[in-house]
Symmetry: C2
Subunit: 229 residues, 2 copies
């Protein structure tokens, strides 16, 4: 069984393809992603890419996973940079990091939460680990609030079967989480996502001096509504 290891004209061509893809996405937007354009820039032929990604969608999936990983890094770093004693600070840091990441990498945000690639359908299972990791920071902080008995709500609407599947998936990646925490975390996520996605899309004008007054108002609303004290 002969199996040579490596001999590439460009070392780490797989990474080079992804880097070039990101460069073009940043410059021309995600929908303009083109295998031929990537090949042109790397001075290879388009079919050569197929040695590293079975098709265009596989490349997009790899990019999405990278984007989730970058997003998760920001989230986790935000959580861990705030003092362990101050859960409110952690929650706020996570909320701000969410918006900051989106405004720093709008194309990556669109790649994850928009549907900018024609015909592409996200393979949920493949993306799930990086996706789950990215929201684990929020989940863990809410769970800490819950463990400390500081969540203000105590009733969760009856969950549907469809939801239970998601919940079980999350548990395998995020560990034990109380359904109540999940419910609260999902609401927080949805609120934060609502503003940011409207902003990124251009439907919502920047608000307030620093353009984030509405967002800060919502972060405060979240704390006030869901957390005691």
């Amino acid at each position: 069984m002969v199996r040579p290891i490596k001999k590439k004209q460009i070392p780490n061509l797989q990474d080079a393809i992804k880097e070039t893809a990101w460069k073009q996405i940043a410059e021309f937007g995600a929908p303009a992603l083109s295998l031929r354009a990537i090949a042109r820039e790397l001075k290879i032929t388009a079919p050569a890419i197929y040695n590293y990604f079975p098709d265009r969608d596989a490349l997009v999936t790899a990019l999405i996973i990278d984007a989730y990983t970058s997003f998760g890094d920001w989230q986790i770093e935000a959580r861990d940079s705030a003092s362990n004693n101050n859960l409110h600070k952690k929650l706020e840091a996570i909320g701000l990091a969410y918006r900051n990441w989106a405004h720093t990498y709008p194309q990556r945000y669109q790649l994850i939460f928009g549907t900018p690639i024609p015909g592409y359908i996200t393979p949920r299972e493949e993306v799930f680990p990086s996706s789950a990791r990215s929201i684990s920071a929020l989940f863990s902080v809410v769970e800490e609030f819950h463990a400390a008995g500081k969540l203000s709500i105590d009733a969760v609407p009856a969950v549907s079967e469809k939801y239970k599947t998601h919940y079980e998936q999350w548990r395998t990646y995020l560990g034990e989480i109380n359904p109540l925490s999940v419910f609260v975390a999902m609401i927080i996520w949805a609120r934060v996502h609502g503003i940011v996605s409207l902003e990124i899309q251009g439907n919502l004008p920047s608000f307030g001096k620093k353009g984030d007054a509405l967002y800060l108002f919502e972060l405060h609303s979240i704390s006030h509504q869901f957390i005691k004290e």
Copy 2:
């Protein structure tokens, strides 16, 4: 100046093109929109479409305006179907109509709030009238609450210059609106949009028996936070 009126093989070809486009969007998704496929189905040649739409983007814009109009119809009908004496019912009806419309026409929702067409950039000014009309129902009800002295919040963060432009645009289409009402309406919009967009995208599992428990919770949160009594 000779200017004949009409002689088309297909009467109302312009409308037929749009109808076929919607049919294909519903079946294969918005990103799969193809002028040639539309022409094929209508048994005309692709360039014939250019007699009715200068390019593909113009067709997409027309579709988006139609989607906004349909969306606005639902919103306005929801507002007007509730008793004039009951503002809370009106607000709830608008909120439910928002989600119902999105779940009835997920492709139209994505066409408006996603970026599913490669390379397409929404011409805001052109779309604005239908867009403004679609949120006018929410704005008017919030303004009625405000006029009745029933808004719970009374401070609006200082608005940025960028926002003022939007605000002036809105005023020309929606009439006199108090900045406070605008602020509250935008928060409501963002919250509702946050959940629905995550649902439509598949990021959020259906929640509760009828799959809308989380949504109903948020509608209740909105009333509770922003409206007196």
